[in-house]
């Protein structure tokens, strides 16, 4: 486990944790009270832009040869906006207060293979509640990768870089299948019956997404159908690569702490905030970069306040940083290349057995795909 100490951070006393939590809570209250016209105008504007990019992308496929690259670009932007600044954030309930059913977390579904309902459980509940608690947060390695030394090594993990590459390329499929918890199924801790409904939802959504992107829209362009098919496929892959990278930079760069289940028993609100802070990392960049990342470039703020509109994260970030300084806690941020390098290093490092605990790991063989065993 990359304990708090290993990340160079200090543990806070119960009193400090309480005060720290209260400061975070105060930020939250202030923003909630301030939500209004600007936030709603912002998200409506993003939705408008996303729809425009989507229509432009679909239309440009009718322009032979010269239209293809711009079409793929527009469609990729549309899908990235749809999935991140709109989909991910709306499904967190960030805009529920607006009372608009189109932007309501219970109604919204996004333009990806993963059905909203499955994802909301795995993400909003499992991942955001148990962030970086090894053995509970299924986003630690996604049940496929070894991203923490507490996950026991097995020869299977020699493929870590390859699995990561495949997961990146087909990320939307990975996210969709994630909720089936295949690793848990293989380990016998989950039954097929539990997966029946989840699987049915995935199947329904996959059919719809496939029909749209790989049958209907290509057919509509007549003789250009193969090019449209290839374009839609490429746009989906570009979106996959982008979202994978942003998301992996949120929790796996160097200096991000993970936690044991014991540490988090009967957790106080203050410790919850503390864990969210140390279990996440930001990426620096331009305003456009932040929008295209769904403001998940402010993963720290997102984890502290998952249901506040993401456009508020940059403004909140300054205060959070200042609070971190006062409590002597690291605020993990850096440019995309630095954070990505940290992630890449981790993927490679954990592909190999740990030098010191190698003997212990070998003594107890573990089934393939066990993932994050407790």
């Amino acid at each position: 486990m990359t304990s708090v100490e290993k990340t160079g951070n200090r543990r806070l006393s119960p009193e400090e944790l309480e005060a720290f939590g209260a400061e975070m809570e105060a930020i939250r209250q202030r923003i909630v009270a301030d939500l209004g016209e600007e936030d709603s105008a912002y998200i409506y504007d993003i939705v408008k832009k996303q729809r425009a990019f989507e229509l432009a992308g679909r239309a440009l496929f009718y322009l032979p040869v010269i239209g293809w690259v711009p079409a793929v670009a527009c469609l990729s932007i549309s899908k990235i906006l749809d999935n991140m600044e709109i989909g991910h954030n709306v499904m967190h309930g960030q805009y529920d207060w607006m009372g608009d059913p189109d932007l309501n977390s219970r109604m919204f579904d996004w333009d990806t293979m993963a059905p909203a309902e499955n994802w909301k459980y795995g993400h909003n509940y499992m991942h955001h509640t148990f962030t970086n608690i090894v053995g509970k947060d299924r986003d630690v390695g996604y049940g496929i990768l070894r991203m923490d030394e507490d996950q026991k090594w097995h020869p299977y993990y020699l493929g870590n870089p390859l699995y990561a590459f495949l997961l990146m390329t087909f990320f939307e499929w990975g996210v969709a299948m994630h909720d089936l918890e295949v690793d848990e199924l293989v380990a016998g801790r989950r039954t097929w019956a539990e997966n029946k409904e989840i699987g049915a939802r995935i199947w329904r959504k996959v059919k719809k997404q496939t029909l749209k992107d790989y049958v209907l829209f290509p057919l509509l362009t007549g003789p250009l159908a193969p090019l449209t098919f290839a374009g839609n496929f490429t746009a989906n892959i570009i979106r996959n690569i982008w979202t994978f990278n942003i998301i992996f930079c949120g929790h796996f760069p160097a200096g991000v702490a993970s936690f044991s289940q014991e540490e988090c028993e009967d957790e106080t609100q203050g410790h919850w905030y503390y864990r969210q802070l140390l279990g996440s990392a930001n990426i620096t960049g331009s305003r456009t970069f932040h929008i295209m990342s769904g403001n998940l470039s402010h993963q720290i703020e997102h984890h502290l306040f998952p249901d506040l509109p993401a456009r508020r994260y940059p403004e909140i970030a300054e205060e959070v940083r200042e609070i971190c300084e006062r409590y002597g806690l690291a605020y993990n941020t850096g440019p995309l290349r630095k954070q990505l390098f940290g992630v890449f290093k981790k993927i490679c490092k954990y592909a190999l057995p740990d030098r010191k605990s190698e003997a212990a790991a070998a003594a107890e063989p573990t089934p393939v795909l066990e993932g994050v065993a407790a």
Partner: protein
């Protein structure tokens, strides 16, 4: 015809598949909010003040031109009305449609009395409609809903009973009957606080003058008029328990009517507001998702959740719009509208009209 073809294309399965997962209306609305394939929206075309007596809350009749998707309404039905009232927030409340029966795409009216609504920010929708809305304001509608309607073949003699703003569905029925040239007899009993607050006063005067088979009795309680009782009903409508009756009003009026009709099938009721009768206090009301719990005070789960500082989603607060549907994982609840209780685990309940009986846990 061309329009109809367009509508059929927009509602086709192919278009639905192309526009998945968002739906074609999400794209049409970017072009023009009055373009829709499934949803209903409307623009306000007229706002007519009904009551503007000093000191009395304002009442206005708002005329709405809906999108072509409006399927029309039957007299007595209601509609959900959502309006962006400012601060980026949309409020949705239910109102009765007050005009005569409308056909698909035809205008509808709602008659609204301004009142405070602590759960709506920054304005209550009724205040917004009577004080701030202008011609051209965009409104989000549902289709007409509700089975508080007259049958296709209206009986020879019917009784209509209403109280306060509950007059709107009854008025819509009366107007529709007049348009249908109903030849039978209508006894119309209405209770209101005082004469100067009377909605539709001119129209009622006109009906009274013309007669035409409408036997109109307006009781103003501030003038000492008697309240609804079996004796009064018997005096005005001999053998009233045998006469098909439609009653709409506040809980006190509905309860009095139910007592008078003693369970006969002649009476159909519609609450204008859900009864405020408190449920049974006792036990623990648990909000599982936020980990909060309170002592059950007998109020609706929605009220108790809000009192505990939660902000669950809600709309009409009277069991109509289903915005507040929440999973109840355990415990027994009573539906305040019907009095029915249920204790199935993992049940979807409308928390605005459900009171817990004993320990109860919901996913809030």
């Amino acid at each position: 015809m061309a329009l109809d073809l367009g509508g059929r294309i927009l509602r086709s399965r192919t278009v639905a598949a192309l526009a998945s997962p968002h739906g074609i209306d999400r794209y049409l609305t970017q072009i023009n909010p009055m373009l829709a394939a499934h949803e209903v929206r409307a623009r306000i075309t007229d706002i007519h003040p009904e009551v503007s007596a000093p000191g009395a809350p304002r009442v206005a009749t708002v005329t709405l031109q809906p999108t072509s998707t409006w399927r029309g309404h039957r007299a007595g039905q209601h509609v959900s009305v959502g309006i962006d009232t400012g601060e980026g927030r949309r409020t949705t409340r239910v109102f009765t449609v007050s005009n005569t029966e409308s056909k698909p795409g035809e205008p509808l009216t709602i008659t609204v009395r301004a009142h405070e609504d602590e759960h709506a920010t920054p304005y209550s929708i009724s205040k917004f409609l009577t004080e701030r809305a202008t011609v051209g304001t965009l409104v989000h509608l549902s289709q007409a809903e509700g089975d508080f309607v007259l049958p296709d073949r209206v009986p020879e003699h019917i009784v209509l009973i209403s109280g306060g703003s509950g007059i709107t569905p009854v008025m819509s029925m009366l107007r529709s009957l007049q348009r249908r040239t109903h030849r039978g007899k209508v006894t119309f009993l209405h209770w209101a606080p005082s004469a100067d607050r009377q909605i539709f006063a001119d129209e009622l005067d006109e009906i009274r003058r013309q007669g035409h088979g409408v036997d109109l009795h307006i009781m103003h309680t501030s003038d000492g008029a008697p309240y609804l009782s079996p004796a009064l009903l018997e005096k005005l409508v001999p053998g009233f328990r045998e006469v098909p009756t439609w009653a709409c009003g506040p809980a006190s009026l509905i309860e009095a009517a139910q007592a008078a009709y003693a369970g006969t099938e002649s009476l159909r009721v519609e609450y204008f507001k859900p009864p405020r009768t408190a449920g049974v206090a006792g036990g623990e009301m648990e909000f599982a998702r936020t980990g909060k719990s309170v002592a059950n005070d007998g109020a609706t789960i929605l009220d108790q959740a809000e009192a505990a500082g939660l902000t669950p989603e809600s709309g009409c607060r009277m069991g109509i719009c289903f915005s507040c549907v929440t999973n109840k994982s355990s415990g027994r609840v009573r539906n305040v509208l019907t009095g029915e209780t249920s204790e199935l685990p993992d049940e979807q309940i409308r928390i605005c009209v459900s009171t817990p009986e004993g320990d109860c846990s919901v996913d809030l």
